[in-house]
């Protein structure tokens, strides 16, 4: 669905919207303070891996927050949303008390609203473009909280609104991977009438939503509900299926697939290549979080346990590092420490995640960088050596460059280290397609407008194109790819 200015104007001029606007004066709307998301107390939540920190808004809170939105004539917030949610419309439905309509509005362009309401960095996207921020220097309308509220309301109501789909056109398309880019693509393609199959290498659908994000931020049940909606729309799912191994692209073409969307993610962990990094007890955040999130390693009766530590250091300053360090606390660490080579101001993690981590007792050892690890006689890490860092001139990222301070080395006792310094794209698909252009980073080269790769019937998006995207950017890729694959397939037929 394309949200043209004309369409938005037409919708805004509908009677119910105009009536709602006239009901409360803008100056009164501006007097309302931004709602605060209710949270589970840190001392309680830190005991549970699967209890959500953010508890969601009460209906009255949501309605009050929705009233803050002034239903702008030029809703810049939409420009900040990679999947183009009709933000004022869904918020005004909440103000009006028609929450199911709000949820239906979200689903017009977003296949995973309950997910996005929880994990999107709205403060950098839609909320950053809100009128309150742009013009009034005030806190934005809590768009993310409201999105979550509407999606949760629908899920809890037992009424699931399944978006309309076009008449099936019988054309088979495949998507590789089942993370947010794939699911978004699948949702849009099935709406266009395609026969969509999602191929997932693991035993669970959801990709990074399941293996990468802990349940205290995104419960698996929330993801499952959204997946069920896609199933009801007609999307098919194949698990334990590795495209490129279980069958090749040629095999799938022979089975009648006409278009492919590759969203196989960035599942290759990176390490720092420093001495001692191969000792037992030092693992990647991928392994750590996958074992806990997807393989039940936090439970006592698991066949696939994960090493637990009392003194846990997590290397890195992104959301994955925050997820890992908070998981370590929940798994019983006495000390869970973030070791980051820049200062807190330069951390890529969401401010909310840093705040939650601090509330829970995570220690932040900023301006420190590991140099070497030492092990006990059994080869298990027992200590690490670190350097203190200063900040030099700004580097290419615009942040001040970390510089080692001579003679500042010190040691720290640790018995578990989780390395969360980024991931690389999954190399499997590029490695089995010699004609597929990839960058030196291992990401697939696409036309940025169309998401089309060097192989015409192959489109790509998400981490395999961006290297490591946010959920919502990946979903935006999926939508863009769907729109353009649809055009491509219509034209060749």
């Amino acid at each position: 669905m394309s949200l043209t200015p004309e369409y938005l104007k037409e919708e805004r001029n509908q009677e119910w919207r105009a009536e709602l606007r006239s009901k409360t004066k803008n100056k009164d709307r501006m007097l309302i303070s931004r709602v605060k998301m209710p949270e589970l107390a840190p001392e309680i939540r830190v005991k549970y891996q699967d209890r959500e920190v953010n508890m969601g808004l009460e209906p009255s809170q949501a309605q009050t927050e929705a009233t803050r939105c002034m239903d702008c004539a030029n809703p810049t917030c939409i420009e900040g949303c990679p999947v183009n949610i009709n933000i004022p419309k869904f918020i005004k439905y909440i103000e009006k008390g028609e929450i199911l309509n709000a949820a239906a509005t979200l689903k017009e362009t977003n296949a995973l609203p309950a997910v996005c309401g929880r994990v999107c960095p709205q403060e950098k996207q839609c909320e950053a473009r809100c009128f309150y921020v742009d013009k009034l220097d005030k806190q934005a309308v809590a768009i993310g909280h409201l999105e979550r509220f509407a999606a949760d309301f629908e899920r809890n109501s037992g009424v699931s609104n399944i978006p309309e789909t076009a008449k099936p056109n019988g054309i088979k398309v495949a998507t590789v991977g089942s993370g947010p880019a794939s699911l978004s693509f699948a949702g849009d393609m099935v709406k266009y009438g395609y026969d969509v199959t999602v191929f997932e290498a693991l035993h669970e659908i959801g990709g990074v939503l399941k293996y990468g994000i802990p349940e205290f931020r995104l419960p698996n049940s929330v993801v499952d509900f959204e997946l069920e909606n896609l199933r009801k729309m007609g999307v098919k799912f194949e698990t334990n299926y590795i495209v490129g191994r279980t069958s090749s692209f040629d095999d799938l073409k022979a089975e009648g697939y006409k278009g492919f969307f590759v969203a196989s993610g960035a599942g290759l962990p990176r390490f720092m290549e420093i001495p001692g990094e191969n000792y037992n007890g030092i693992l990647s955040s991928n392994e750590y979080l996958t074992r806990v999130n997807l393989m039940g390693a936090s439970t006592s009766n698991t066949d696939t346990p994960v090493l637990r530590g009392k003194n846990v250091a997590v290397i890195g300053g992104g959301n994955t590092a925050m997820d890992s360090v908070r998981t370590a606390l929940r798994l019983g660490a006495d000390r869970a420490i973030i070791v980051y080579r820049r200062s807190e101001a330069e951390m890529p993690a969401r401010i909310e995640e840093v705040h939650h981590a601090k509330e829970e007792g995570v220690e932040f050892m900023t301006l420190c960088n590991p140099l070497e690890y030492f092990a006990d006689e059994k080869g298990r890490v027992k200590r690490m050596k670190l350097n203190r860092m200063g900040l030099g001139e700004p580097d290419a990222s615009g942040r001040r460059r970390p510089m080692p301070i001579d003679g500042s080395e010190f040691e720290l006792d640790v018995d578990l280290v989780v390395v969360a310094v980024g991931v690389s794209p999954n190399p499997l698909v590029p490695s089995c397609l010699p004609d597929l252009k990839v960058t030196k980073w291992g990401t697939i080269v696409v036309d940025e407008e169309k998401m089309q790769s060097s192989i015409p019937d192959m489109f790509a998006g998400g981490d395999i194109v961006r290297g490591g995207a946010t959920v919502i950017l990946a979903m935006g890729d999926g939508r863009k790819a769907a729109e353009n694959m649809h055009k491509y397939l219509q034209n060749i037929d």
Binding site: K124, A266, R270, M272, E273, I274, P275, G316, G317, G318, N319, T320, P348, A349, L371, E372, N387, D395, A396, S397, R401, P404, D406, E409, V421, G422, V423, S424, W441, T443, V446, E448, V465, R466, G467, G468, A469, T470, L473
Partner: protein, 328 residues
């Protein structure tokens, strides 16, 4: 018969002329051509910490769809470093397979810790020796000269503790007591000292009134600082001395050997005249030796060093004063 063999860092070289570390010693094709031109040894291009940051900046500048993705890029310099080091180790392995002359790896050091770890990998990849290129401009105002010197001894000691292959150390002349530092460094674990490395020098464009870069390559008159210090330190140190910067022709090679260098390192001339300049240097060195009745390098190496000189003052400033007095 004229014998050009020398022993440098304990390695047998068929002649004292080494292709120094530079961009040209970064590919197997060039390395083979350098061997064919007759070089006694080759020093691979240095891996610079600074280069890794520049590449990081370059990658950042062409992000495209990867913008807004700091988490992916936050530690990307480590990835670049890993890729560079991997390529470097492959180059060493391939060079060792393809060349019969000694292959010396070069590491640019600012910090000792991780480069020590890397030095071990360089050794495992088969390098015959490692040249540590201490490319440090002592411009930190809060550091004393003692701090600056200590850094060198610290890095040498740490890297030497990790490897068994010989180490040479390439230094600048920026020390408050250069002679003492050269002597003391020669008594550490290193087997050779390279005098001196050439820094990028700023210049001023007076028309645009801004700082610009000056010549990257040396000139054929730039060898005199090295000549002086090799001449002054020969026989007073516990390591080989290798001359670097300004070695553009066979005459300069002969001069350096006469004042006490064990080897010379040629770089800028390779860029300006191509690899045949090495052949020319070797042939003319041999011819000069024959004309002067020398059968081996040892016959004349260090003959004009300060230690062997009947007039040591020739290497010192008094000579400079005397020269100017003549103009009165």
């Amino acid at each position: 018969m004229t014998n050009l063999n020398v022993k440098y860092l304990g390695l047998d070289l068929k002649n004292p002329i080494i292709a120094g570390s530079c961009g040209l010693t970064n590919s197997i094709e060039n390395l083979k051509a350098i061997e064919e031109a007759g070089a006694g040894a080759v020093i691979l291009k240095s891996i610079f910490e600074e280069e890794i940051y520049l590449e990081f900046a370059h990658e950042f500048s062409k992000l495209g769809p990867m913008d807004n993705n700091l988490e992916f890029l936050d530690y990307y310099d480590y990835q670049i470093k890993k890729d560079n080091l991997k390529r470097y180790l492959s180059l060493i392995q391939e060079a060792k397979k393809e060349l019969s002359i000694p292959v010396i790896a070069s590491i640019n050091c600012v910090t000792a810790h991780e480069w020590g770890f890397f030095a071990k990998k360089v050794e495992d990849a088969g390098a015959d020796a490692i040249e540590l290129n201490m490319f440090i401009l002592p411009s930190n105002l809060s550091q004393t000269s003692q701090d600056n010197e200590s850094m060198y001894f610290d890095i040498v000691s740490r890297i030497a503790s990790k490897i068994k292959i010989p180490i040479s150390l390439k230094i600048s002349s920026y020390f408050s007591n250069l002679g003492g530092v050269i002597r003391d460094l020669s008594f550490t674990e290193i087997k050779g000292l390279v005098l001196f490395n050439k820094f990028y020098s700023p210049d001023v464009d007076i028309n645009q009134q801004k700082i610009v870069g000056s010549d990257v390559l040396s000139h054929n008159n730039d060898y005199k600082l090295s000549l002086r210090w090799i001449g002054m330190m020969a026989n007073r140190v516990n390591s080989d001395l290798s001359a670097s910067t300004g070695i553009h022709d066979w005459q300069t090679v002969v001069k350096m050997l006469l004042v006490g260098a064990t080897t010379v390192q040629v770089v800028s001339a390779l860029y300006q005249d191509g690899f045949p300049v090495l052949t020319d240097m070797i042939q003319n060195l041999e011819k000069w030796m024959q004309e002067n009745g020398y059968t081996s390098i040892a016959d004349f190496k260090g003959k004009l060093s300060m230690d062997n000189s009947t007039n040591p003052a020739e290497f010192e400033r008094v000579q400079f004063m005397r020269t100017f007095e003549e103009y009165k």
